[in-house]
Symmetry: D2
Subunit: 286 residues, 4 copies
């Protein structure tokens, strides 16, 4: 009966609030503020610097869409680099592919990983249990800057917004290093913000311009993420060779027999069909 509400401002005049049954922890790390909460509707959820990162109820949508889309295009992903993603949800989905041999997960803040291991095993338990996952607690921009050329088939940028620690992951230098670290047929997926509220649309445009200047193929796809601002969220798909629709092989992916709650092969192509206003924003800017 204690009346305790977490709120996130999606715009200065738009507030999304979740009633909290208890706060599980609150920690200021050298990089950011991390809070874990319990709630009835969303189960456990955590925030970084006051913004929802993942909830037990809808994290599946995000992690399905960041991971399965590239795997349904690339014929043989063996080496994966995850930048950010300290909650482990992206690694969990990646590790479902038997062909994956090596996963480097680079999160600047070890505390995100440790706290998710403690409070959110739904996403983080794979980080302990799968020996293919290698944790690196350092700046993603620096890590990818040092990476050998052509080391990765897939880079997944599972970052916070481009403020604070996540800022470097939205720069030209970062995307160029990703390009270099990828194989000739490698794929980059990046958390691409949202087209709806102006501050998010602004970052969406900035990221898109930079990726388009770096990769010959750069597409954007959308999904429903109810606990993120507006619920309308995007990922970017960039590659030197593969087009996410033309080179999509649904039968190959379906043959893997993976059970998913959000992604499916009909949705794959559909996700790249964007509302007209989003297409126009991406093509012509605000």
């Amino acid at each position: 009966m204690t009346d305790l509400w977490y709120s996130e401002y999606h715009a200065a005049d738009v507030r999304f609030s979740i009633k909290v049954t208890r706060q599980l922890c609150s920690e200021q790390t050298p990089f950011q503020k991390i809070d874990f909460f319990e709630s009835e509707t969303f189960g456990t959820f955590f925030t970084i610097d006051g913004l929802v990162m993942a909830t037990q109820k809808d994290e599946f949508a995000y992690h399905d869409m960041i991971a399965h889309v590239p795997f349904a295009v690339h014929p043989a992903v063996r080496r994966v680099l995850i930048i950010g993603g300290g909650d482990g949800g992206t690694a969990r989905e990646v590790c479902r592919y038997p062909g994956v041999e090596h996963v480097d997960l680079v999160d600047i803040d070890e505390r995100v990983v440790r706290l998710c291991q403690q409070y959110l095993p739904q996403t983080a338990s794979v980080l302990d249990s799968d020996p293919r996952v290698h944790l690196h607690f350092e700046d993603g921009l620096q890590f990818v800057g040092r990476a050998e050329e052509g080391m990765y088939d897939l880079v997944l940028v599972d970052s916070t917004d481009p403020v604070g620690p996540g800022e470097g992951l939205f720069t030209h230098a970062f995307y160029q290093n990703c390009h270099r670290a990828l194989t000739e047929d490698g794929i980059l997926i990046n958390q691409h913000e949202s087209p709806y509220y102006p501050i998010y649309a602004h970052e969406m445009l900035r990221a898109h311009a930079k990726i388009r200047a770096t990769f010959p193929i750069a597409r954007v796809y959308e999904f429903h993420m109810p606990t993120y601002p507006s619920g309308h969220w995007l990922f970017g798909f960039a590659s030197k060779r593969y087009d996410p629709v033309a080179d999509f092989r649904p039968e190959r992916w379906n043959a893997l027999g993976l059970k998913t709650r959000y992604y499916n092969t009909d949705l794959h192509t559909a996700a790249f069909a964007l509302p007209t206003y989003v297409k126009e924003l991406l093509e012509h800017g605000a």
Copy 2:
């Protein structure tokens, strides 16, 4: 600087709030409570019984998706029945088609229409200006019960949620009367709630079961509606003859040269590709 917030509870522990620059009017009619507000991010918006109906900023998504999907399938819509839709946004989109000869708009509450004409001309101005639109202020269930057989090519159910005045528009009797009032190749589109929060998913399932029992073809499509609960919203497409994807004619629709902000012909097919959990809900229930 006055701190005044409108809130809507998407679940008992989930609250979506909009800062209001002023309340434009508040009226209790014999049917429902109607409030109009001004806000910075969403412009003018109105609520019925405390739930957001339409905002200036995102009504285009809803009205594009209720209207253009059936028009891109049916080859010659001439007579249209709109049930609910007193804000005029659905009628506005319908009236953009020159082939349309007659539109009956049936809203139980004349005050919705009159207040939208006063405060929300963006959606309602067509109700005055287009002579094809005929307003009827009565119960939609009774209107369609009296309608002649095969009167309409298209019925658009633009209703509130199935509580209060909207309740009758989610019944077997209503859907059967719609079936009767439609031509042999007529199409029914209905506001189909949302799959995400439990109370909405529950109504989605109830409506779907009834429509599926009434029409041989019954599909569901989705779109992003940021000011509705979870932002993940659905319409139903039901017909005696047309399949919304197989009978879709993009070139015919594109030839009309209509400028839209949300709908486009790529999105048309895409909208019918649903996330796995939504498909499973619709097929097997909760």
Copy 3:
């Protein structure tokens, strides 16, 4: 059932909120923003620049305490100057004294008066009905600067907080002009902020220091005002001659037979007994 809440921040991290049944009006004047609201618990209330000025439910406490305390001390108030007080509540109490011959009410913003006459007749109706009240819509600092020496027996400063239009009413110049405009045995009562939350306590101290430097007798008294920050509110009593306790004549006041809901002659003396921390603040500062 519409969920609409007015909030006031008593500190950056303390919020007092009232559920509003409807907003009655919202007007930006050349001086300030004025909003009127209806609520169940407080009835009609109005705010200036987002701060509660008066509610139907508890205005009696404020208006009793600003008006009756000086009348129970001064033997013969005939001419009264009210600075601010556009809602009329202070004038209403002053006009209950038959000995009062002339009341000048100076509010910089005519709209406060006009809107209170329309929406809050409980306080404002006296402004029309009592011919002794003379309305002046101009800056209080200038009005009192032009006032003849010794014109008033009583000056009541019923101002907003010292931000915006109310700022000049908390200056040395203002208090000195009040001193000049008062008769030799005149009394100044001023809205004296609150000792509890730091920003209010800060203004309380600044006002007190200036009044003490201007008047030989300067005391502070307290009362309970639930809709003001912390509910702990103060008035200042300053005079050239009268001490509010030593010169208090309860029997004379009681003989008038005035019915009041907050003030009484026991409370009169009691109100000048302050908590130790307030006394220490006033004597030694923060």
Copy 4:
């Protein structure tokens, strides 16, 4: 920057909210829900069943007024019974009197004491450090029912509201047992709710009627408690012999040289002067 707010509803349409920097603990005991929070303005505070019990910033007002008023009347308090008061603040003030020989503190819920010892030493540290304090974790009604006749000079009822575990402490049986357990010149002080919001005023009246039927002398006094509903709070003073004003000995109390932040001997008498509407409520009911 995490936006987390605790709220308390003072009425169904009145909400008081404190921004929380972190939740320190949340525990459901067999009796009640206990939560501790940190905040900037109020420091650490705790709630029981969602209602603020004590904050670091303003607990001094409550504990000064419950404890020092009876000690300034009764000439020689030696044995004290505190019912409730598990936070220790009342015991802390009582223990400042060297004449006190024995203090029984009876709180039904040991967890209140243990959590306050951990998180709120400002009030609770005395419970460890003063050997005169004897803790009893049982129902206050039963404890006082078993107490010997004339055991206590002073009973302080520092209870929660009359809902849940606190309910028995607002009954005829309880007050009669207090009467029996008190010496011939003993004093009972009870937490007496508030006159302002209707649900609190209702309990105030019920308590007052019962105490007045039990003790020949039954008075009510008020103080400012900003974090309690309306900020206007009351204690009851009941006795077989002493009148709190007529038998008040300020010089004796001042001679003790106790430093206090709220209570002082001027305020003592003043606190018993109530606003007219409160007097009328107490005399004639709602």
